[in-house]
Symmetry: D2
Subunit: 501 residues, 4 copies
């Protein structure tokens, strides 16, 4: 604990901030209470939003490359604090060291990507059908962005959103998960240091954090001054947020549940598939939105693959996430454990068979934390259970005979986040990537469904929300488009050749 206090202090979080509040923060590692943070009074929420709105009016007039300079500084601060923030992530949510560091690296990467964007943010010039006219599209800052994150990427998702939003000219209001506010706070403090270095051009209220719970998030969701709500979490949450934002004509980015699958064909490199399955199914204890949950294997290779998987699963080192060699840390909390255990119990009810794992472990050493052995379930069909997202290390194995059948099974779930195929057969691979292939937002080949690079657009279709974050042109969601037709002639022709009067 003292160690963590020192780390937090280096992250800019004073000891005084850690106590006296009503939001208890527990370590997923051992259940220790790490802090009692002070929640933002609900009565302060209108001021928070008003500050963001006021900041917007100034920030939008700061040139984008100057805004890029702020994000560059943030990247520098994250680089300096990488080890510390990674440590906080590990202690708070239980990620192994490499993954904690990986999260901060994503923040660094996105800052650099956003820095590059800060001299682009390209709209288009367009030719006009009328003489002496021209058309252009400009992308302008949109307004305050609320970033509502989940526990499982308590640092990176804020960075993804905030780096892009800031470069696009939008102030940010950050509502971290109540299960992982310390990681968020540490990431936010790095931004505050960058803002301090950046100086006067950054208006007051440019970046704010709201420590709180669901009702705080709702206040942001419903505020007409929040131009964009970027919310990561469950489909259930999205089903509530989407309509509320739509009802007030706001914009939203929803990153919701996934039910990510891998198709393994007879043409797959099974050893590579094995390694990919391990990382994507048990990494982060199966608590990534992109975690592998369904393994759809051609019947001719299914037994061979399972035969490789079982010993690999059984030799996985489960334990304290910062201990050397640990690959599987704890689940976030008791509820997560219960949900997993319940799903494991359902497997047999739905005709399946648990091949390995599923039981709680290390209860002696960590009575108040929840470690489970990653599970594999052999399922005879894609039952209701399989079609549901269970947020933990439970992998369903399904057999198939024909690729189009496998793709149909693959797509026959409500979620649409990430997917992959393992095959070295070009036709199989391209079919999977084609219009008739995977219906997910991400479809990979010979890598698992998780672990996207920041250069592509991240997000999914169907109940995953349909929106995108991170690279490519995801930035456009953080701006408003203005189509401009300029007449510099002395005539007033109408479009479509209409004559009037």
């Amino acid at each position: 604990m003292n160690d963590l206090r020192n780390v937090l202090e280096r992250c800019g979080i004073a000891a005084s901030e850690l106590s006296g509040g009503t939001l208890g923060v527990r370590s997923a590692v051992d259940g220790t209470e790490l802090a009692r943070l002070r929640e933002a009074p609900m009565t302060s929420m209108p001021e928070v939003v008003a500050r963001a709105a006021a900041a917007f009016r100034r920030w939008r007039e700061v040139p984008a490359p100057a805004r890029g300079e702020l994000v560059r500084l943030w990247g520098e601060e994250l680089r300096k604090a990488k080890a510390d923030i990674g440590h906080v992530v590990s202690i708070e949510v239980g990620k192994i060291a490499q993954e904690g560091l990986g999260e901060v690296q994503e923040g660094i990467d996105i800052c650099e990507f956003a820095l590059g964007l800060s001299r682009q943010l390209h709209g288009r010039t367009i030719v006009s059908e009328r003489p002496g006219h021209r058309i252009m599209e400009q992308y302008h800052p949109l307004g305050p962005v609320a970033v509502i994150t989940a526990f499982n990427f308590p640092s990176a998702v804020f960075a993804w959103n905030a780096a892009i939003a800031l470069v696009c000219g939008d102030p940010v209001v950050f509502k971290p998960s109540e299960k992982a506010p310390l990681s968020g706070l540490a990431t936010f403090k790095a931004l505050e240091r960058a803002i301090a270095r950046f100086g006067d051009r950054a208006p007051e209220g440019l970046a704010q954090i709201v420590i709180g719970r669901k009702e705080h998030a709702q206040a942001l969701v419903d505020s007409s001054d929040i131009a964009l709500v970027s919310a990561t979490g469950s489909t259930r949450m999205g089903r509530e947020v989407g309509p509320r934002v739509a009802a007030r004509f706001g914009r939203r980015i929803l990153e919701l549940g996934g039910n990510n699958a891998m198709i393994v064909t007879p043409a797959a490199d099974l050893d590579m598939a094995l390694r990919a399955i391990l990382f994507s199914a048990v990494g982060t204890a199966g608590q990534r939105c992109t975690s592998l949950r369904r393994l759809i294997v051609h019947r001719t290779v299914k037994d061979a693959l399972v035969a490789k998987l079982l010993p690999a699963y059984e030799s996985l080192r489960i334990g304290h996430p910062l201990e050397q060699g640990t690959l599987v840390g704890p689940l976030i909390d008791e509820a997560a454990c219960d949900t997993l255990r319940h799903a494991v119990a359902e497997v047999e009810q739905q005709g399946g068979r648990i091949l390995t794992g599923g039981e709680r472990v290390l209860a002696d050493r960590f009575p108040n934390a929840f470690y489970v052995r990653p599970a594999i379930a052999d399922m005879p069909a894609q039952t209701e259970l399989v079609r549901r997202e269970t947020f933990g290390p439970l992998l369903y194995v399904l057999g198939y005979d024909d690729l189009d059948q496998a793709i149909a099974m693959h797509n026959d779930v409500p979620q649409g986040l990430s997917s992959c195929i393992f095959s070295n057969d070009l036709r199989e691979v391209e079919r999977f990537l084609s219009a008739a292939g995977s219906d997910c937002g991400m479809a990979n080949v010979n890598i698992g469904p998780s672990g996207a690079e920041i250069g592509g657009a991240f997000g999914g279709e169907k109940e995953t929300g349909g929106d995108r974050e991170s690279g490519s042109d995801a930035w456009k969601q953080y701006m408003r488009r203005s189509t401009n037709t300029i007449n510099f002639s002395t005539e007033l022709p109408l479009a479509q050749g209409i004559e009037f009067g």
Copy 2:
């Protein structure tokens, strides 16, 4: 009437289709009943949607350039039927001849634009951070698109949506406005002829029309097999549709109300402004979503401009839309007339003054149709009335002293569709187009707010819905994006440099 029957027959609408139904269609010109169309039974709606879904599975595999060929044929059919469809539009909704023809021309234009797109639909290739990997984004067909239109663009809005949707690989289900189904039907029949010429590659159910009412639209809005709902209409409608589509994780394009303004500065060419005001405020009897509703004039030129406007307004020829010289046709129906008359009455209550117009005219000649004299109201301030969209030829005039104040007033309405400035002063113009300028989706210079070309993206911000149709990259809303990372190496490196296991 016989004349219309002939026209409709040339449009492919048999006389037998025009009677025996429950949906009475009246001409806005004189109130005559033009047809009694048969409504689709509500019980048939699931089949409609199922047919579209089945068609999708085949159409998505037809190569996009071949899909472009279908749209090229549609363009040819529209070109042949231009005069006839324009005529139907004029008779049904009361547009003057030039505007009826202009609508069909928009359809032709969008078909040609979509034809060009059919060899583009460009995604991106992206470099990967991992050796032996590459990333690409592909855009794939999305699924069935429902196109729900309003009476005021009964032909063009369907064409805008359907041409793009079809090229993108999406079947269409068209629900025309119950106030203007004949224009929609005539446009749809041209598509059917194109499909017939196109031949076998077009699956059954590729394009369907649903004659009906609000409940038919709702069935489409709520159907999980309708991937995209493109709905044009009132903000009230959008406030209902948006959340319903969001609740089922569908996609929507909403094109809702506007409250479009023109800022006239001292540096304006007042004669050009005058002409632009006339077309955009009284064209289509003020019933375009982009019609000019607010005139924000610098006080130093306000009197001069009004002095030009009044005689111009008073000399406007109001009458049968197909009569030579007519510039102002009827409102769509009695309700529209009542709404306008009510707004006119409110003007004085809110401190304003009607300078001209606002009264019903031609009631003798057309007792069952509703012609009004376009009105100008001088308003002391932007009252609640002014901030509301009144769908008819009522123009509010407001004065201003300072450009930033004018822009603030301009933006201080809930709608955000179209806008313009008249000025030859570069600084004024660019300020208006800048991040701190007009907050509308369209911001023009020295042309009115209405009459967009199809090459730019069309649509608006705030309560206008936030979505885009027509040109630029609006097509992306009709497709789904698939981010693909392909590993063709024999290694399995993780992103962000993570080491696992």
Copy 3:
């Protein structure tokens, strides 16, 4: 002959144009003289260029979508004349009927593609680092474009260039190959008809044809008023044209020689490979710039593939290109035949072996025309002969053991136009497409090197010239880019934060 006269007349070429001149045109089919065309006097060349320059000043102010309308009309005219122009192509240069029609289809396709472009021609808006500034790039018309074509695509290459040039705002001066002026003329006449329909907005001199020889081409190459020289032909020609255009700071598009190869790996579908080889090696009698010339086959499948190829080659129907069933027509002329025969003779000198073909055939029936039996040569190594382009149906077969070695051999020629791999192995395919793979402008998978679609950019690297035609953003070469920085503030900040004075 009478038949051809009728066809030409339908193409708009009067009988009077066909005689009395100094440029004899012979049919490749039978050596008959088809016409004696009048050459443009060299003294008229300055006027030709001056007319184009004058036309440019008017055409550049015609809005691009209106320019698109001209190209749309050209597409219509080509569609109407498809059979006739295809016939002329077949008779003049000896292409089989399907290929003659295919050329015209390419013209139609490019007109439709260019029509779509005519509302795009997108530049970029770019954010500025200075407050109150914005940046944009516009693409503006460039100036007159000379299109100098070769005999082997006497219709399509002109259409590719002219459709794009016209939409981009550039007049065209067309110098067809002296070996195939009739096909060019027929294509040009269709453009003239379109211009006539288009009417007054098309300035005089917008499209001109120059019947003549090398010195006519040189006059265009050297004229400072020809903004862009688009020349298709041999590397030798390009080696002359490139420096001459560069010396006067003109622009050029060079489409020069290719030495296109196919790599066939053990993972290939050999039957598909066989069919692809046939079309791409013997189609157009091996006289496409993209014709397959080198077959690099893994030693484990080489014998099997050759065993399939030989009977297929031997059963190829050679003959009059318009006779049903003919797959191989004549070479263009005696010189072409001599070159091929010489190469065949060299094969053995360089250690190779002719497996089939290489001899002249049908000399009895067509004593003045030059038909050869397509040849396959087994080569022990990539000798000097193999590294040279021989423009006829001579295919070298080479063996390889390792893919990287095959790629190295593939790239070890001076030309860089088109290439392909046949394999269903993902790793092989992606390696071939990667930065370390084929160094050609076009690299295909499981299709031959010839027969590109118009949607992609067409052209090659190294001695092929380095430039691009047709789709993607090849249009940018036909325009000039203007980077605009607009200051609408009242300050004058300098870039890079420089303070001055």
Copy 4:
């Protein structure tokens, strides 16, 4: 001198490198010899190129985002060395302190821009007309890039090119101007430090510097292993380089002479124009390729503007560039001074009148350096002298009556680099930016022709060379495009619907 030695040492240039060679380097400030650098033996040039070629084969396989990391480190090194390199630039070529620093800032900016690019380098995915096919364009590394720079941007131009080239996967060979090798060397050393930090992934030979003269440059120009020659300098140089590179089918980026003008209309803010003229005409002592050389002023404001200019010119502080308050430093050398003096003498011969300046000054204090008083010449017409680029602070003033006449005069010079208009009249401004306006690569509004931001593409038309550096999509010139069509079906359809066999 000692001071400079210290600075150079901090820049990584050891004292031992500064003596013993054959290339004498003189300070433009006072003519002192700063160093005698060792020239690369001409016999070593093939090795230099071979090393670059070998490096290319490794560097192209390093993922672009990793290449971006190298450039990020270079940016860090430049940031650290900014003051020192700026100092070297000032001492070596005589730029004032602000401009020396500005150059390094451009280097920093471009590194950050290139860092952003390193996750983009976007090609396009394209839809295919054939079922089971897809098309994509990839951009791949091109090969070694030679960067040949001029004395006037001895640091920034190398950085512009090298940062982009390195990210694009291309090794660089840098040949700095023989008049300014120290500035180049200092910039290069920063890159070497970055490479050292970057570690093993950077192959030997990735970045090389060649100290030498014209013949060294020529060796690079003529080497077939140099894929791209990026050369900055005079039109005379370009007229030689262009054809030589074209003759070997290489690629080139030429950034040659400019003859940049400002049009000042009656609607201009004359005080802003005055300030802009000062910076752009006398900054860098008129030795920027974008320096203002021609002032085309409406006759109604010409006298007033000149009346403001004369006292401003006369009060310009000329002197040691590092002295506080200096705005005008020395010319680069005696030859430059002679050229300027000669042009001044020609003014009267061509009917003009020197209004101020043109004489050498400070010859007492700096007998071996060449300071001149910036000159203004009133010219009756655009004579041959005016149409020629004189590389120094000589500004020609010309009158005009009509904007189109002014634009015609503006364009009637052989060069086409940069241009601007001062006006607040929208029509004038847009006319100037239109297809019928300035024919330069850069056309600005209310800022001078010099001082571009790095986000836009930099370069000019006509005798300026036609190529582009820096921002926008200029990076594409440093890569090769590969158009890939992938058939993943089991059929082999041909494009254009051709049937074969």
